[in-house]
């Protein structure tokens, strides 16, 4: 039995504090996010990244910019 492939966007942040600030803000404002280990596509970053569905990305970007929480990297990943 095979599972459906899904596409997600992963946002990377400069620091753990920024990642957790973003998680708290987005969850409070109704944008579901899942903390994930920063994927290799993010390159030099490590630590906590946030995964969300592509349809929420624009809103997430706006909300984070308004709160002065910087996004350091953004990649699209496939998940099985």
């Amino acid at each position: 039995m095979s599972r459906e492939r899904s596409e997600f966007v992963v946002l990377g942040f400069p620091s753990t504090h920024d990642a957790l600030a973003a998680e708290s803000l987005l969850k409070d404002l109704g944008v579901p996010v899942v903390p994930v280990p920063a994927p290799q596509e993010i390159g030099a970053l490590c630590g906590i990244a946030l995964r969300l569905v592509p349809g929420d990305v624009l809103r997430a970007r706006e909300l984070l910019e308004r709160a002065s929480i910087p996004i350091a990297a953004e990649v699209t990943v496939d998940d099985v």
Partner: protein, 389 residues
């Protein structure tokens, strides 16, 4: 209070006992959030990361720090003063520093002075107060990189006019750097309205947290060199240099998660229902009565402000015949009263007060102390000086 120590009057060294939520938070951090914060995205690592994130927000709010990223968690106030001084001051710079400083400032300045920092002292008056006019004269005498003054004296309890000193510093193009070890908790601290450039705070004194944790606020415009380089969890791990983003830059290595958890719980406890304000009012009443009662004893000289003048809850005394160490020992062994004798890691302040040769007995009041404790301490002192005179 316990069989071992019925009356604890050494809060300026370390506050004790701690509120129950502080103890619970330390245990919970170890039992329920035992991962390494910022280093793993498994459940225990995330729990530890969130614990520190929340504590940082709560401590920042309590100290009036507008952006929590500007508050670094450190091993204590001393690490904070070392970062602010060694990270910002260069050979050839000149600083104006109060004569009441603790060794947390005096010793780093000594090292810097050996390497070419020019250190000019602003002399305190007889109450330990740094008069702004006197400070301004020292600051204006030469180009000045920084004005340095502790928020409150750990020897006399004298509260310094930090806002005025910050204005003087900034008018001269200098930074205002503050050792807030005795300020946090005992005074309402709002770094934004004080307009200081750096403020180091101890977690285990008036803030009622555990030992081994403190904080450093740095104004967004400042970028002091970090003292330590190492892992931070986030950022660009492959780079050989320490990341510049805050708070990571100043938090190399695994943080003291249980200590930070306790500190976070402590400030939430203090912030709840105006408890901090009530605690400060109680402390002011108790230390006022203590200073008054001690001042009435024959042969006793109370250092610092007049008995009921504003001070943080610290009062130090000398007796004209009984040495400070003997008084402290007798208070402990015969009466179960914990105080501290000696120089209190503040030889500069004792020099300014004329007590460098004798030291003093310091009584410092805080959470858990009662009016009965204060009367017992005065009664014990009355008996000791009567016997020793």
């Amino acid at each position: 209070m316990t069989e071992l120590c019925p009356i604890y009057l050494d809060h300026a060294a370390t506050s004790w006992p701690k509120p129950q939520p502080v103890l619970d938070a330390v245990v919970s951090a170890l039992t329920e959030c035992g991962g390494n914060p910022g280093r793993g995205v498994h459940a225990l690592g995330l729990a530890a990361s969130r614990l520190i994130f929340e504590a940082r927000g709560d401590v920042a709010a309590f100290l009036g720090v507008p952006d929590a990223r500007d508050l670094a968690f450190l091993s204590g106030c001393t690490e904070g003063t070392n970062i602010m001084l060694k990270g910002l001051l260069k050979p050839g710079d000149r600083v104006a520093v109060s004569s009441m400083e603790h060794n947390a400032v005096a010793r780093p300045l000594h090292v810097l002075a050996m390497n070419g920092l020019e250190v000019d002292v602003i002399e305190a008056d007889e109450t330990g107060f740094i008069d702004p006019d006197r400070a301004e004269a020292v600051v204006r005498a030469k180009p000045t990189r920084a004005v340095i003054c502790l928020h409150a004296s750990n020897v006399t309890g004298t509260i310094q006019p930090i806002g005025d000193l910050a204005d003087i510093a900034h008018a001269a193009g200098a930074l205002m750097l503050v050792d807030g070890a005795q300020g946090g908790g005992h005074l309402p601290v709002d770094v934004a309205s004080l307009a200081v450039d750096a403020y180091a705070v101890s977690g285990h004194k008036g803030l009622l947290g555990p030992q081994g944790v403190g904080g450093l606020y740095l104004a967004p415009s400042l970028q002091p060199e970090e003292l330590l380089q190492g892992g931070t969890g986030g950022g660009s791990s492959e780079l050989p240099t320490q990341p510049e983003m805050r708070p990571d830059r100043y938090e190399a290595g695994t943080p003291n998660t249980p200590g930070i958890a306790g500190l976070g719980a402590a400030v939430r406890f203090l912030a709840e229902d105006g408890r901090a304000e009530r605690q400060r009012a109680e402390e002011a009443a108790l230390v006022g009565r203590l200073a008054e009662g001690l001042a009435e004893l024959p042969g006793i000289r109370v250092l610092g402000p007049a008995p009921h003048a504003p001070r943080v809850p610290v009062v130090s005394v000398v007796h004209d015949r009984v040495p400070a160490d003997r008084i402290a020992f007798t208070l402990d062994k015969r009466y179960g009263i914990a105080v501290r004798a000696g120089l209190h890691c503040a030889p500069w302040a004792h020099r300014a007060l004329g007590t460098l040769g004798t030291g003093a007995v310091r009584f410092s009041v805080g959470f858990g102390d009662t009016a009965d404790d204060i009367e017992a301490a005065i009664d014990a002192m009355r008996a000791i000086v009567k016997e020793g005179a």
